[in-house]
Each structure stands twice: as structure tokens, then as C-alpha cells.
Amino acid sequence: MRSLTASMLLWVALAGCEGVTPPTPVDAAAPDDVPVAPYVPQAATLRRLTQSQYANTVHDLFGDAVVVPRALEPDTSREGSRAIGASEASLSPRGAEQYQDAAYAIAEQVLRDATRRAANVSCTPTGPDDAACAATVVRALGRRAWRRPLTDDEVNALVAVAMRAATTLTDFHRGLEYALATMLQAPDFLYRVELGADAAGERRFAGYELASRLSYFLWDGPPDDALLDAARDGALDTEAGLTREVDRLLAAPKARRGLRAFVTDWLQLANLDALSKDATVFPSFSADLGAAAREEVLRNAEAFTFDAEGDFRDFFTTRETFVNRRLAALYGVQFPRRDAPLTEFVRVTLPTAVPRRGFLGSVAFLALEAHPVSTSPTLRGKFIRQQLLCYNIPAPPVNVNTAIPEPSPSLRTLRQRLERHMSERSCRSCHITLDPVGLAFERFDGIGRFRLDDNGAALDLSGTLDGRAYSDEMQLYAALHDHPLLPECVVERLYRHAWANVETGEQRSEIVRLRTAFAASGYRLRTLLRDIATGPAFRRARAPEATDGGAP
């Protein structure tokens, strides 16, 4: 009944707003205990490796010391998800150039460094044109780079590239660079080729494709040798074998990478790269603050998910966090070493005197959802509604006056100025759901520093979140913690991340299953990841639309 109650409550709260709509709960029509229609899978399309997946793949193949060029085709976000963007966007001509440059840069690092060469070239060539040795190398590299065994045709084609280059340059290993550069530019490397096998009118993932699907979901990177072996041996195609591998993947340090990829996307942390603030208004702002703020959130998410295995909702109320010396200064906590590098983070407990708790008290949220010179209650409120509670926020209507009155003796605080601005009905219908939530954070300025007043005037932080009143941000943290849409929304975001699709009513049974299990686990994110990866729905896809079979 929980979800039904939540959605009913929201419709009451939002009566009168034609714009902002709460998420359409996939089970709005019925409570969770009513039988639901069977799961209908969605089509799966090729997913191009995201920037982080590309880097992780190269590092897993050749070692973390290999420098991966940073200039790669940017990730595309669709429906708030980079996973969906990666399954829809096409590569630009510039992106193909960048993949080429990266491929040669990586191939040179692998084959000109003695240690890496020894790790990847197991045979001693008899001369530049030793095709048999080249084939041995190509087969071994190919299995890991393309996440499956290569066919003989494929091996022959790659060996031919290597032989031509080796002969021209009279150097066996230089020749191999060209074969490796071919592998790294091939679609089989740049895309996750998870097409599934025909089964009962749809597609099923098994073996090597399932290995790739699991590792990119849980590790944001390629399968390791053990997972590829499990695929080869058929172990992944038994429930016991699958569960064993999923548990192994989740227990590995690389699982933190997988979580980071999701949290970065969900909380829009990539935007912190471009965090820009007016240094004259915020003297304590520095260009490295955005990176530090992102690392704080990611470390906290890791600790919650894998170390404490805590209740995911406590992420919004905790006093525990991680800081480097920049953040320590801003948060008013002691940092052990004054001259520590900025990459050094320590775990701290925030002081009780300042109402800073959890993600909503972090610089990542407070500075990102603000203007370069000031706070923005609208942006902060919109983030909570849209990213944390999965509301749909429409674009503002056109031809309305958006000007906010200047501060004056009668309009001193931003709340007073915004309320005047909200007197316009077309604005009010939406902003009434956004601004009051954001105004609860007015004790934190545009970079997240605590302050006592705004423009010399006392602050009114009170409001109501979907029926629950709060008097300040501390009570809002608690209201959000208890909000039934908070865990529902994260399940929805994680579904999109894992399947690279926007869920519809046809996937309702899986959403309900995951949500119910999530609640039963006490909202353990690690359990949710496990439930997704081991569930049958993760191995199913709709058959793609028919093709004409024509030539390109």
C-alpha cells in the first residue's frame, strides 16, 4: 500500500499545478500485492563505451599506469542518463579521429614498454614476419579487448595488418602496434556488443555477452579473465554460477567504480568539472573545489554501499563525511595535516553546531545548484524534485516576465523577492513546488558555506514537503529521508542505468520486485545492485526490429 499512499498524497499536494508532475508510479493502478502483468523486455541497442568505461577498459587490459587520452567523444545524456545516451547517440567524425589518436597512443605504450610488452607478447618472434607468433598475441589480446574469443577470420585479418606493418617497418612489435590499434578502433571494442540469442521470440543474454553486461554494470569496466572463463565454461548460465560471479564482482574493489559511475550520473556530479564562481563574491572558492566536492560524495556513497552497508536513506542525514583540506576549511572541521595534497581525504564527523548533514549539506549539491554569485532556491528545489524524487519539471512557459525585484527595505531576503516574483500565476503554479524547498537551504551560500542571515535579514527556512511541514533544513533532511518517493526514485534511476531504457508500464513487475526487495533489505544499495544483476529480467531483451538485410 505504501506507494499508493505516496502517489495519492502527492496529487493532493500538487493540486493546482498544471506543470510539475510527480513521477507516474508504475504501480499507480494497484498496490504492490496485487498480481501484475508479466515482464515484457525492452529492446537493447549497442552501447558505446562511456568515457569512464573506455578508460577503465584500457586500464584493466594494460594496467593503471597507461595514460588514456582525455580528449574522447563526450558522453551524451538522454532522459537524465548517460547509459541511455550511450545507446542512442551516434559517433561524430571528430570522435572517430579521437579514437584513432587514442588507439595509437595506447598501442605505443603497451608495445614499447618492456614490462607491458612482456605481459602481452608471450612468444619470441623469429623475425618481423613471424605470423604464428602474431596470431598467438592477437588471439590473447583479442579475447580480452573484444570480451569474447576471436574467429579465425578475425585473427587472420588482424595478423595481416600486423604483418604488413612489421614488414614495412622491419620490426615485429611495431607491426603489432597496428594490429592493436585496429582492435582498439573496432566497433567490437568501442561498443558493448550484447545482442542476445533468439529464444522464444525474444533475446536472451548468456555466456560472454552476459559477462560483459554484468561487468559493465557492476564494475563500469570489462570482464576479467575469471569472468570470461566462467562464460566459456557455461557457469554463468546456471543460477548458482551466476550468483557466485555476481557476488564475486560485488566483493571486488572494482565494484566501487561501478557505483561511482551510477552516482556520478544520478547526482549529476560531472557538472562539477565546470563549477565556476565569482572569486570576488566567494574568496574561498578555488578551481579545485568542484573536484573535491565530487570526491566527497563518491567516497561517502562507497562507504555507505560497501563498507557500512547502511540504509541508503541515511545518505541524506548522516554527519559522517570525507574531506580534503579545502573542504575541511569550508566545513569548519579539523584536518590533520596542513600541507596535505588535495587528493588526501579523511573521514570526519561534522560538528553539531552547523546544520550540515548528508548529501544536501555537501558543497556538491549546494554549490552546483546555485548561481556564480548567489544561491538559487529554484535550482536547489528543482534538483530535489527532479533528481531525488523523480518529478517531471516542464520548461517554463514563454512570454512571461521572469525578472526578480531588486533588494529593497521591504524586500530584503531572496524569499521575499521570490514571493513577489511568484505573484504571477503562470510562474507560481510550478515555482511553488520548487522554490520553497530550495529556500530551506538559504543558510548555505552559493558555494555551500554556512551563514546566519541573507543581506542582514533573518531567514525563514520553513515550508512543507508533500504534506510534511519543516521549520528548517534539518527537518527537511528528515522529511526527505522518510519520503516514500526517495527509494522509489533511486530504483527507477538504477533501472535506466542498468537497462539503458526508460521504464514503462510493461516493466512494472520488475520495478515492483526490485522496490519490494530494496525495502525488505532495509534499503541496502548493494542488495539492490545484486538483485538487478541476478534477476531474470537483466538477461532478457526484446528482439530488434526486422532489418532489410541490405548492404551498407
Binding site: 529492446a43 541497442t45 549497442l46 580528449a71 563526450p74 551524451t76 545524456s77 538522454r78 542512442e88 551516434s90 559517433l91 561524430s92 567524425p93 571528430r94 570522435g95 572517430a96 579521429e97 584513432q100 577470420d153 578475425e154 595481416a160 595488418v161 604488413r164 606493418a165 614495412t168 617497418l169 597496428y178 590499434a181 585496429t182 578502433q185 573496432a186 566497433p187 567490437d188 545482442l195 565546470a274 565556476s276 565569482d278 572569486a279 570576488t280 572558492f285 548561481h371 556564480p372 554569485v373 548567489s374 538559487s376 520548461a395 517554463p396 514563454v398 512570454n399 512571461v400 516576465n401 521572469t402 525578472a403 526578480i404 525585484p405 528482439a543 530488434p544 526486422a546 532489418t547 551498407p552
Partner: protein, 435 residues
């Protein structure tokens, strides 16, 4: 003087040391009066879009007077010295639906349709034109920017966005780094170019093996990927040929690796000048004939000059007649003047690069505060060799803005019978624009 035989010139190289050898004067490549190459081929016609985000203040944008008797408006004053190269088109409207603030405007003008999802539903005008005039150069088109961003409004098709390069140093390396040769510079033949081409052949063949297993959607995406790969092959092919003999082409100085912010504010004038000089030389060296230059992106909140808040925030929050927004717009126009001046300063025959380049300068709405799409801001610059009438204020009240787009297609030699769809569709250009 005898024209050069292109085939007598040494073949080019990747990564080899460039050496200059004595060549006959480059004028040998031109005809008697310097207006074209020897043999009568005209200087290439180029096209580009110059875009800035967040609209204008329409009342201070529209020039006074019409036709040839026009006076630059207050916002356009920084362009006054270039007025003989400009035509301001005012009064047109975006006819497609205005549902995406800052998005429906550029989509309507540049693609002739409203946005779908989060992008354009059709190719943008620069890419349509690149399909006609982009085939002979090393780069089919270039997408560049001034604000640090890879956001882009250049679309080869739906879900096919060309990201923006906004780092001057990276752009320099791409255009003038390894492999580039100025006219007269020769290098020893490098066998590695041929090897790289064999790699691309193998990549394409491998793509073919995968293709047969894909559904229709993935096939199309893979085909687009492989088309991009073939684009690299073309680039390698160009590197093996002689550089075009254009008198104005020279290797520019490398920009600094970083353009530092000033007190947390991007140094937009400096960034703008560096990018303008690189882009001008890319055109002068005929590395490309089509560009999309994104000065600032839609909804950007850049801290301009001494403004007390970001640009987008001010367009909405600043009350009254928005003097701060006005001063920002003048800064933007000053940087546009920098760009157009960089083109004008390159001599080509008895004209300039600006004469041989048609630039569509526009933004994402008319009045930033309300996201309005009537009185759409459009300035056309250069374009003499394309037959554009200049030094005009063309008042076209109520006309469909896509008529301007259609006229541009015609002037650039695209054989089009229509542009846009639905209410954005037009089958004729804007009267008075083409000479």
C-alpha cells in the same frame, strides 16, 4: 609564368620533419588579376554559423532605418566598422513551436524543425552545406567554440551531434600539428600513412562482420560510425597530397596551452581572438570550408566583464531595461567584430577571406527574458562571392525565419527545393537578400 604541375611536387608525410624548398612564387597558381586560381577556379566559397547564447534585447537590437539607409543599433555598435560587410535581417519569426526555451529557436532556424527529445530532429544547415561543399577539404567541417564547453548545435542528423572544440591549443594541434604543411613545405614520404589506412580498412571490414548481426537502429548507428571512420581515411589521403596553394596560408603560432581565468571569470576576449585567428587560418589554408563557431552556449551563465552575475541569470532576473544585459551584449558583439575582422584581414586575390565566407550570426531567442521567437536576431556577414547583398537592414516583418536559411542554401550552391518541415517549411528564400 608556367602554372605548377601538382604531380611534380613531392608526396607528403606524417610526422616527418617539414622542409621548405624553393618554389616559384605562389602567384604562379593564380590567374592574371589574382581573383582566382590559375585555370579560372574561383576561391572556395565558405559558410559558417556564429552563435551566442541567451538572446538579445530586441528594442536595442533592431537597427534604425531600412535598406541601405540603416544605422547600427546600440547593441550592434561594436560592428559599425564592418557595416559594409553586413546585412541585418530583422522581423522574421521562428514558425515552429516554441516549447523549449533556448532550444526551439536555433532548432527552428538551423534545422527547420522544433527539437525532439533533447536534440535536433534533422541535420543543421552547416551540415547540409558541408554535404555540398565539404567534400574536397581535409575536414568536412569544423565545430569550434569560445566558451569552455563541448555542447553543440551542429547536427549531421538526429542523434548525430558534432561536439565543439573550445580549447585553442587542442584545435591548433588538430589543424596545424603533426601532418600539416603550409604551401611550399615538403616532407619525405612516410610509409606510416599507408599503414594507418590499412588499419582503417581492417576496422571497416570488422564493422561489416558485426553489421550483419544488427537490427535496423544499430545498423544505422554503425553505418554512421563507419562513415566517420571513412572521414579519417579522407584526411590521410589529403595528407599525402600537395597542400592547396593558397597565398594567405601560413602555419600560425601555437596558442598557449592554457588560457587562464581572470579572478574566476573566463577571459572571453582573449579566447575569442585565439579561436578567431585559428579558424581564419583553417579557412585560408582550405583545411575546411564549413564551420560552426559556438561563441557561448544556450543558457550559459558566463561571468562577463565586470557583470555582478552570470549572463543567463541576468537575462531573467535583472529588472527594468536590463542595463547589465545590454553591456554583456556589447561585449559579445565586440568579440564577433574580432572574429569578422580576422576574416577580413586575410587577403585573397583582390578581395578578402570575409568576401569569400558567408557567416550566419544568430542566437537562441529574441528577448532572453521571455524566450520570445519573433523578431529573431540574424546578422549575415561576408558572402560577397556567394552573391549576398550587403550593407543593408532588411526588414522582413512576420516572415518565416527559415526563408533566410533557404536563401543561404541557394547562395552556397545547395540544390534544395525546400527547407524545414511543418510550419518551418519554406520553398523560397527571402526577397532582397540575394544580389
Amino acid at each position: 609564368m608556367r602554372p605548377l604541375d601538382r604531380r611534380t611536387v613531392l608526396k607528403g608525410v606524417l610526422g616527418g620533419a617539414a622542409v621548405s624548398i624553393a618554389l616559384p612564387p605562389l602567384e604562379a597558381m593564380m590567374n592574371g588579376n589574382g581573383t582566382a586560381y590559375a585555370g579560372g577556379a574561383a576561391f572556395p566559397k565558405r559558410f559558417g554559423v556564429y552563435f551566442w547564447g541567451n538572446g538579445v534585447l530586441p528594442e536595442r537590437w533592431t537597427p534604425a532605418g531600412e535598406g541601405a539607409a540603416w544605422t547600427p543599433s546600440p547593441i550592434l555598435m561594436p560592428l559599425a566598422a564592418l557595416r559594409e560587410h553586413l546585412t541585418v535581417v530583422s522581423g522574421t519569426r521562428i514558425a515552429t513551436l516554441n516549447t523549449r526555451p533556448h532550444g526551439s529557436g536555433p532548432a527552428g532556424l538551423l534545422s527547420g524543425d522544433n527539437m525532439t527529445g533533447e536534440g535536433f530532429s534533422r541535420a543543421s544547415i552547416d551540415q547540409i552545406i558541408a554535404g555540398t561543399i565539404g567534400g574536397e577539404t581535409r575536414f568536412r567541417s569544423l565545430e569550434t567554440g569560445v566558451q569552455r564547453s563541448d555542447e553543440s548545435l551542429s547536427y549531421a542528423g538526429p542523434m548525430q551531434r558534432n561536439p565543439t572544440e573550445s580549447d585553442p591549443y587542442a584545435l591548433f594541434n588538430r589543424l596545424f600539428g603533426e601532418g600539416f604543411r603550409a604551401p611550399g613545405e615538403m616532407t619525405m614520404a612516410d610509409p606510416r600513412i599507408g599503414l594507418r589506412r590499412s588499419v582503417l580498412d581492417a576496422v571497416t571490414a570488422q564493422g561489416g562482420r558485426l553489421r550483419s548481426r544488427l537490427g535496423a537502429t544499430d545498423r544505422q548507428r554503425l553505418d554512421e560510425h563507419l562513415t566517420a571512420v571513412r572521414g579519417i581515411e579522407r584526411q590521410l589521403q589529403r595528407l599525402e597530397e600537395n597542400p592547396p596553394n593558397l597565398a594567405a596560408c601560413r602555419r600560425p603560432d601555437a596558442p598557449p596551452a592554457e588560457v587562464p581565468d581572470l579572478l574566476g571569470r573566463p577571459d572571453m576576449p582573449r579566447r575569442a581572438r585565439l579561436m578567431a585567428d585559428l579558424l581564419a587560418m583553417a579557412l585560408a589554408c582550405d583545411l575546411t570550408r564549413v564551420f560552426f563557431h559556438m561563441y557561448s552556449q544556450s543558457v550559459n551563465n558566463t561571468l562577463f566583464g565586470a557583470a555582478p552575475a552570470g549572463h543567463h541569470q541576468l537575462t531573467h532576473d535583472e529588472p527594468g531595461d536590463q542595463p547589465l544585459v545590454f553591456s554583456i551584449l556589447q561585449l559579445i558583439m565586440a568579440d564577433l567584430a574580432t572574429f569578422l575582422t580576422a576574416l577580413r584581414n586575410v587577403t585573397e586575390g583582390d578581395g578578402t577571406l570575409l568576401d569569400h565566407t558567408l557567416v550566419l550570426c544568430t542566437t537562441d531567442c529574441s528577448f532572453g527574458r521571455t524566450h520570445a521567437l519573433d523578431e529573431y536576431p540574424i546578422v549575415l556577414a561576408g558572402g560577397a562571392s556567394a552573391g549576398m547583398r550587403r550593407n543593408l537592414h532588411l526588414r522582413a516583418r512576420g516572415e518565416n525565419a527559415t526563408k533566410v536559411s533557404f536563401s543561404i542554401l541557394q547562395m552556397m550552391g545547395v540544390r534544395a527545393t525546400e527547407f524545414g518541415v511543418g510550419p518551418g517549411r519554406v520553398t523560397e528564400g527571402l526577397g532582397g537578400l540575394v544580389a
